[in-house]
Symmetry: none
Subunit: 147 residues, 2 copies
């Protein structure tokens, strides 16, 4: 099963909706029933997990030891932002206000595929984030993929 790939800069309409690229919609497993769980991501962006993938994450989370304070805080941090959203007939989802604020998203959103999930960024934040990254692509590839 091919994962999510690609990028697209789409506009957010006055109702806070953003289109999900057709290529990514088509990569959705039928079991996901056009549903994404939207939550905060790492770095200042939003994560979208297909429903079927999300269920796996939920069971990982529920396996955590809740007698550990750090685990509790982690669970709170993920779940307080999470929301199940179904694509509308035009293939869009509406971004919950708290998440839009968190990611600093107003009128433009950069949608990128990241294999098991989709990310939505404020285009400017994303450019800034990539600039902060000290190593260039070639170095990163060598380090991460090993040699």
């Amino acid at each position: 099963m091919a994962g999510f790939k690609g990028q697209a800069e789409y506009s957010i309409d006055s109702k806070g909706r953003i289109a999900i690229p057709a290529k990514m919609r088509n990569a959705l497993n039928p079991e996901a029933k056009s549903t994404f769980t939207i939550t905060r991501g790492f770095e200042r962006c939003i994560f979208l997990y297909p429903l079927d993938t999300w269920l796996g994450i939920e069971s990982e989370i529920s396996a955590l030891n809740t007698y550990n304070r750090q685990a509790r805080d982690f669970v709170r941090s993920i779940l307080m932002w999470a929301e199940e959203m179904v694509l509308d007939a035009q293939g869009r989802i509406s971004i919950p206000k708290p998440l839009a604020e968190f990611a600093g998203i107003t009128d433009k959103g950069l949608v990128i595929g990241a294999l098991d999930h989709v990310e939505i960024w404020n285009p400017d934040s994303f450019a800034a984030h990539m600039n902060e990254q000290a190593d260039d692509y070639e170095t990163l590839a060598e380090r991460v993929m090993g040699l």
Copy 2:
């Protein structure tokens, strides 16, 4: 199975399409179903992986630990440019706009076979890249291939 070889300078039409040389199309494994995954390469060029080869890369990527920030950034850097493209009836693929911009490709493309993948360069960039390379062919060979 024979790998990709050879070079060809082809034109990009007004719709951003470029032909893949017949020799390389014939080198495609039937399993690839005439499909390439197109993504950014190292240096300023575009990589084309046959679908079957790409799936192997994708599973390597998915094995990375995404709780590590460098790994996350690497996954973003490679996948945001990636796109699955099927050859049209004329044996062409259309180059996604972001990639064309990245590689500085406008009206001409230099297509090079590189064993497990195909590369597309702006012909001028490629010439410049080869000039930057201080060592000549013989020296390079000695260093890379050992003794």
